[in-house]
Symmetry: C2
C-alpha cells in the first residue's frame, strides 16, 4: 500500500525518524533510566519497540492504558502516574498483578487515594509530590505521613514521583536558554528529594521530553518522557535532538484564489497548543473537518484539488488520541498499520 492510497486524514509515523528518536533516547537514558510514557502514543506496537530498546518499565496516565499494556504482554513494571479513585479499574489492575501477569504501581497524593489503592488490593505505590505545577501531588512536608499511612495499610512504598510540567519548556518562564531551564528544574527537584528523604524507597521518578537531559545531578532515578518518540511543533521549539516523526496527511479538497482547504480539522488535531504547522503556509481557519491555509509568499507553489499535504500537529498526545490507526511509513510505502489501542478511559 502506498501512502497516497491511505484514506485521509491519516496519522503517519516516519520509520526513519522514529528509529532515530528511539536510538537517541536509548543512548541518553539507557534501560530503565527511561520509563516511557505511553500517553503520548497510546499504541502498544510502539511501546513494544521502546521495550526492545531496553525500556521495559512504562508510565501510564490511566488504568485503561495499563490494562492495555498488560494485555499486550508489556506489563513487567507499569506505573500509573496518576491518582485513581475508581475501585473497579484499580481492582482490574490488582487482579492482574496477583496473577503475576503484571507488576503495577499507582501514584497517590492523599489519604483517599492511598485508601483506594489499599482497598482495591493494589500492592505498590509511589508518593506523588507537587514540585510546582498546579496539578496533582502532595506538599513535600506531607509526603512522609502519606508513606507511613500507606505502609500501615500494607502497601509497599517504592519512592516518590513529581512532574515538573511548569518548567518542561522555556515558554512559561520566558527563559532564554536551557541552562536557565536546568536551574529551575533543579529547584523543583529539591522539593522532590526533600520528600524522598521522608518517604524512602528506590524510586525518584520525574521528567519528560523537555527535561530528559537535565536530570543528571537532580537525584532522579528515572525519566518519564513520552513525546520524544513522535514529537510536535511545541517541543520542536526547544531544539532537542529528536526529529518530527508524526504527521497528519490530508487531502486538498477545495482551492480558492488565496487559500486551499484540507480535510484535517479539529477532530483530527489537538488544538490546545494552537493550530498545526503546514510548512510553507500559514493557517487561516481550523474547523471540525477542515484546515484552511495560505501560501507564505508567491514563491510557494499553489496547491491543486486532490494534492496531499503533510501537517505537523502542535501537540502530539491529544492528536494521536483522536485517531484509530498510526500508519508506519517509509517514504511512499506504508509498512504497517498500528492500532491506537490504548484510547479512551
Amino acid at each position: 500500500v502506498l501512502v497516497d492510497d491511505l484514506p485521509t486524514p491519516a496519522l503517519v509515523v516516519d520509520v526513519g525518524a522514529l528509529t532515530a528518536n528511539l536510538a537517541t533516547m536509548a543512548a541518553a537514558c539507557p534501560g530503565n533510566r527511561l520509563r516511557p510514557h505511553v500517553k503520548a502514543h497510546k499504541c502498544t506496537s510502539l511501546a513494544r519497540l521502546q521495550a526492545e530498546h531496553g525500556h521495559t518499565g512504562f508510565t501510564c496516565a490511566t488504568p485503561r492504558e495499563a490494562l492495555g499494556m498488560a494485555a499486550a504482554g508489556l506489563g513487567e513494571d507499569l506505573l500509573v502516574a496518576n491518582e485513581v479513585l475508581d475501585l473497579r479499574r484499580l481492582r482490574d489492575l490488582s487482579a492482574l498483578a496477583d496473577s503475576h501477569a503484571i507488576e503495577v504501581t499507582v501514584a497517590v497524593d492523599s489519604d483517599a487515594t492511598v485508601r483506594a489503592a489499599a482497598t482495591a488490593g493494589i500492592r505498590q505505590v509511589l508518593i506523588d509530590v507537587n514540585v510546582g505545577l498546579p496539578r496533582c501531588g502532595c506538599r513535600p512536608t506531607d509526603a512522609g505521613a502519606l508513606a507511613d499511612l500507606a505502609r500501615s495499610l500494607g502497601l509497599t512504598v517504592r519512592g516518590v514521583m513529581g512532574y515538573e510540567g511548569h518548567v518542561m519548556t522555556l515558554e512559561p518562564l520566558q527563559l532564554t536558554d536551557r541552562m536557565a531551564q536546568a536551574e529551575v528544574v533543579a529547584l523543583a527537584m529539591d522539593r522532590l528529594r526533600a520528600a524522598h528523604d521522608q518517604v524512602g524507597g528506590d524510586v525518584i521518578s520525574a521528567g519528560g521530553t523537555g527535561t530528559y537531559d537535565l536530570h543528571e545531578h537532580t537525584g532522579v532515578t528515572e525519566v518519564q518522557a513520552g513525546s520524544y518518540v513522535l514529537m510536535d511543533t511545541h517541543y520542536a521549539r526547544l531544539g532537542l535532538p529528536f526529529v518530527q516523526a508524526l504527521h497528519v496527511i490530508g487531502t486538498v479538497i477545495s482551492v480558492a484564489a488565496h487559500w486551499a482547504v484540507a480535510d484535517v480539522g479539529l477532530k483530527a488535531l489537538g488544538m490546545d497548543h494552537g493550530p498545526p504547522l503546514v510548512p510553507g503556509h500559514r493557517v487561516l481557519v481550523v474547523s471540525d473537518e477542515h484546515l484552511t491555509f495560505s501560501p507564505d509568499d508567491d514563491s510557494t507553489p499553489r496547491h491543486r484539488v486532490g494534492d496531499r499535504v503533510e501537517i505537523v500537529p502542535a501537540h502530539v498526545d491529544p492528536t494521536v488520541a483522536m485517531h484509530e490507526t498510526l500508519w508506519l511509513v517509509d517514504g511512499e510505502q506504508v509498512v504497517e498499520g498500528w492500532p491506537v489501542d490504548l484510547r479512551g478511559w
Copy 2:
C-alpha cells in the same frame, strides 16, 4: 445505574434539556425546514430522536457519518455537505443509493469534485458556494458552469448550499446585537441566491445553530443546525433559546489549598474554543488527563477528593467526537448509554 457510578470522564446528556431543545427547534424549523447536522453529536440514537421530531433529512460532514446513518436506517435523504475526493468511500455511498437503502447528495465546488462524484456513481449533488467563510465553496459566478458540468455528466443538481460560518456568532465581527447579525447573514445569503439563480434546483441549504432563526427572508429552504441539540459555552453566549444539555462529568482526584484537580483533560474536551466552564470556578490548567480549577471566591464550597464535578465544554462537536458513549441521564439516574457511533473517517 446512577450517574455517580459512571466511570469518569463521562459524557452525559440531560434528557430534560435535550427534549426541550428538540421541541424548541422543531417548532422554529418544522419538518424538513431543518436538516440536522450529525457532526455535532455523531450519534445515530440521537439522530433517531431528531427524525421522530420530523426532521428526516440529515446533514453529514464525512462519508463515514453518512454510511453510519445508512446502517442505522436513517438514510432517507442524506447530504454530505463537504467536498469528497475519496472514490472508495463515494462508491460505498453510491452502492447504498443504488440499492435504495439511502438517498445521498454530495456537495461539490470544483471540476475535480464534480468528476469524482460522477466517477463514483453518485447521482445527486449540491453546488457548494462560498458565502464569505474562508473555506470550501466556489465563487457565486462559477456556480452555473459547475452545475452545467455536473448535468453534462448525468448528475442531478438539487440546488446550492453555503455555510455562513463567519457570521455564526457575534464575536468575529464584534457585533452588538442579533439584528446586526441578521443583516450580515442576509448579505451572505445574497451571494447564495445569486448562485442559485444560475444553478436552479429546489434546494438552498445554509445556516447553523447561531443563525437558525435569521433565515426567514433569506430564501434559504433548509437550515443545517446541529449544535442546538446539545449546546456549548460558545453558542450559549448568543442567548439562544436552547439550554445546555451536554456535560462532562469528572471526579476530583486531587485537592490542594488553592485548587482541585479533576480527571477530565485535553483528551476529553475540544479545546479550540478555549477551556471549558466549571461553574463557580476558574480554570487554571488543562493537561492531557487533568483539569485544575480554583473557586471564584471564598463563598464557593471547597471540593474534596472523590467529589463529582460537572464541566461544560466550550465546543460541542470535537468534545463529543472524543468519547465512546453518550450517557442519557435523568437527574441521578442513567437512562441509556448511546454509542457515539459516527466517529472517525
